[in-house]
Amino acid sequence: MEEKNVVFVVKRFYNDSEEERRYEFTASRGMTVLDGLYYIKDHLDATLAFRASCRMGICGSCGMIINGRPMLACSTQIFDLDSDIITVEPLKNMDGIKDLVADFNEFFEKHKKVKPYLIRKVEKSVEEGEYIQTPDQLKEYRQYALCIKCGLCYSVCAIAGSNNEYLGPASLASAYRFMKDNRDEGGEERLLLVDGHDGCWRCHFMAECSEVCPKEVDPAKAIQMIKRKAFIAAFKRLFRR
């Protein structure tokens, strides 16, 4: 099996002090960056801290900056990287806890702010059966329901970095997911939550969020679509007066 020597340069962080540690080992083809981190933890340095769970790109635990770009460690093949020196850092725009472990609390709080659930004026009873949703209606929002909350988009977003209150791409994409769901009746209520200085209008459409998204959710597009909806709603309000 094909093998090569690699050096993992890990930005370590503990008790407010930073340190760069280098770990050298032999990687074989098929090994992911996450496998590499486990190799280090098992054989070279058990004190290294990172998060991981599903190792199949669906749980969102192992987002980190690999060679300068936010990626999921489990979904990144070592042999696919250009360099044999692999730098690994925690996600940005979040506080550090230890080593590669960043604090997601604010990220999850912001997600909660957009009321990311079906809002109904009256909930149907179970006995009445399901709400009707055709395959085409499902397609309207399905892409935006694929977000795994890994935080890569949040980490790369320049606005999230410079403004603490900005809801960020993942939350806004989530809001849009519900706006496009034919079962949802949260219209104006949710729109007001995202149509403000800390919502969609803060976004400058640099679209890096969509570039790094591992699930092709395209939050940048979602935010532009929210802007359009907000604009139309404002226009309508104007005429109602």
Binding site: Y14, A49, C59
Partner: protein, 565 residues
């Protein structure tokens, strides 16, 4: 620090979230703590792929679903619990839809259903092949509507506090700062999932280490039927990532190196959609008899989806395609997928009845951590996610009702300080020369080679000897990280401690059960033996290792008959 909540739920996967919502709805004034060692949405439930079973449509019935489940269980499932489970399933599927789940739809806009192994009607509700993922996100998002659900994210539970057969709460480490806290509660629900990391080749997430089972067992609660471990037919090589049974439900073939659909020899009627125990055994037989393919990651067989065409694969199995490309370098549109049977589900678990009650007052268990038992000796696909929904809901409302009727009972003196000292002085103080990783890897390879699909007495005895030896060696481990903040060296040691305890129970139960039933197959006892073994194994903790007892299986309508597919 000690905090107080009426109901505390351990584990925030499908069962835990469903329980939290049910508890919050049952008692609006109750305070519900939802404790997880990981962040929201990281739980292994997101990995469930193929579907969730419910008899929703004409032509299907609750009774048929129940019969399929009883037969699938090789008659070890408790039939009263199974009937109840199947009767509640349709309601849960609809409820999830009302809460926003993006179920795949029929052209008329109804929830669509696909065929699944061992089911005699297409009753798997699915959301493409990301069913668990969407269910988890739906429940998590819904849970945000309830202000009385308080989340404790990244808290690692170290012990349950039980006195005089009453649950009083638990202790947990706040991973962010290493502080030991006590959670004082009237009722506790365990929803921590299975124990699949016992095995080397496994579909499970890194985090599924049987914590809840071991916590309960050590606190005196019996574990039931732990020798029954499900091996799913199609684990992707080399990682073990799950390739859903839905792939065969959609029409995929299993092929050997002679290009034969070999399942026609083993299950001529159901073919690839026979239950998992039968398909996995058939695959291993093919491999053992030399009809597998050889590769750098061991022998394997092929799952061929090419005839389904790109459009259908992309629409119904997009995650499988993505995973095969990313983790195996194979695009199933172009090439068959290399697969091998893989450890996938823990049929056994914390002894609970169909009301999710354990023998301890105020302690409930739901989902994979529990053994009710609806799966018996072999679980049918789609029944696990539904189990989480049905019994998560039951546990949530039962625990809330219990909390409404009862007061807090005083915590034992110094319970948190004692646990603090056990973990941070005794445990973390260990500075021996044994490596956690090495003990863990030896445990996993032992389970893989000696306690797998085909078992025999000598192997099991040898496995038991090795596990006992590993338990001894574990006393002499080294924990290198002496810090308090996010100490994953410590948590991996705690997890290994749990797993070694469970491994011993699995092996002992398998050694004692001298018959073949469902997923437990003994080469030295190849027949099912209803006369002697139509009974559940119960493992009780003692200092010298598990003590086994047996209790009868509940039979309502269906007397055991030969199981053919």
């Amino acid at each position: 620090m000690i905090v107080q909540h009426d109901v505390t739920i351990v584990g925030a996967g499908l069962a835990g979230l469903r329980a939290a919502i049910a508890a919050a709805e049952t008692g609006e004034k109750l305070s519900i703590a939802l404790v997880s060692k990981i962040y929201p949405l990281r739980s292994h439930s997101v990995c469930a792929e193929g579907g969730t079973g419910a008899a929703l449509r004409e032509g299907d019935s609750i009774e048929l679903h129940a019969w399929d489940t009883v037969k699938g269980s090789d008659f070890l499932g408790d039939q009263d619990a199974i009937e109840f489970f199947c009767s509640q399933a349709p309601k849960e599927a609809i409820l999830l839809e009302h809460w926003g789940c993006p179920w795949s739809r029929t052209d008329q806009g109804l929830i669509d259903q696909r065929p699944f192994g061992g089911h005699s009607f297409p009753r798997a509700c699915y959301a493409a092949d990301r069913t668990g993922f969407h269910e988890m996100h739906t429940l998590y998002e819904r849970s945000l509507m309830y202000d009385n659900i308080i989340r404790y994210n990244e808290y690692f539970v170290t012990s349950l506090i039980i006195e005089d057969n009453h649950i009083k709460g638990l202790t947990a480490i706040d991973l962010k700062n290493g502080e030991m806290i006590g959670i004082h509660s009237k009722a506790v629900i365990l929803a921590t999932g299975g124990a699949g990391r016992l095995y080397e080749f496994t579909t499970y997430s890194y985090t599924v280490t049987g914590d809840g089972m071991a916590l309960a067992y050590r606190a005196g609660v019996p574990l039931k039927d732990m020798e029954f471990f499900q091996f799913h037919p199609t684990g992707l090589l080399p990682s073990g990532i799950l390739i859903t049974e839905g792939a065969r439900g959609e029409g995929g073939y299993l092929l050997n190196n002679k290009n034969e659909r070999f399942m026609e020899k083993y299950a001529p009627e159901k073919m690839e959609l026979a239950p998992r125990d039968i398909v996995s055994r058939s695959m291993m037989t093919e491999i053992i008899e030399g009809r597998g393919f050889k590769g750098p990651y061991g022998d394997y067989l092929l799952l061929d989806l090419r005839h389904l065409g790109e459009e259908r694969i992309e629409e119904r199995l997009p995650l499988i395609r993505e995973a095969s490309i990313k983790f195996s370098g194979v695009d199933p549109v172009e090439e068959p997928i290399p697969v091998r049977p893989v450890a996938h589900y823990t049929m056994g678990g914390v002894h609970a009845n169909m009301h999710t009650e354990t023998p301890v007052k105020g302690l409930y268990a739901a989902g994979e951590v529990a053994c009710v038992s609806i799966h018996g000796a072999n679980r049918l696909g789609t029944n696990s996610t539904m189990e989480c929904l049905v019994f998560g809901g039951v546990a949530g409302s039962r625990a809330a009702e219990f909390a409404l009727k009862n007061d807090f009972e005083a915590l034992p003196k110094d319970v948190v300080a004692k646990e603090e000292s056990r973990i941070f002085d005794d445990f973390m103080g260990r500075d021996g020369d044994e490596s956690i990783a090495e003990i863990r890897d030896t445990m996993r390879s032992t389970m893989e080679s000696k306690v797998g699909i085909f078992r025999k007495g000598d192997d099991l005895k040898e496995a038991l000897r090795i596990i006992k030896e590993l338990k001894n060696r574990f006393n002499n481990i080294q924990i290198s990280d002496k810090g308090r903040v996010f100490n994953t060296d410590l948590t991996s040691a705690l997890e290994l401690d749990f797993m070694l305890e469970l491994a011993e129970i699995v092996v002992l139960g398998a050694l004692k059960r001298e018959e073949s039933r469902g997923a437990h197959y003994r080469l030295d006892f190849p027949k099912r033996d209803d006369e002697n073994w139509l009974k559940h194994t119960m493992a009780y903790y003692t200092e010298d290792g598990p003590r086994l007892e047996y209790i009868p299986v509940t039979i309502t309508k269906w007397e055991p008959v030969e199981r053919k597919y």
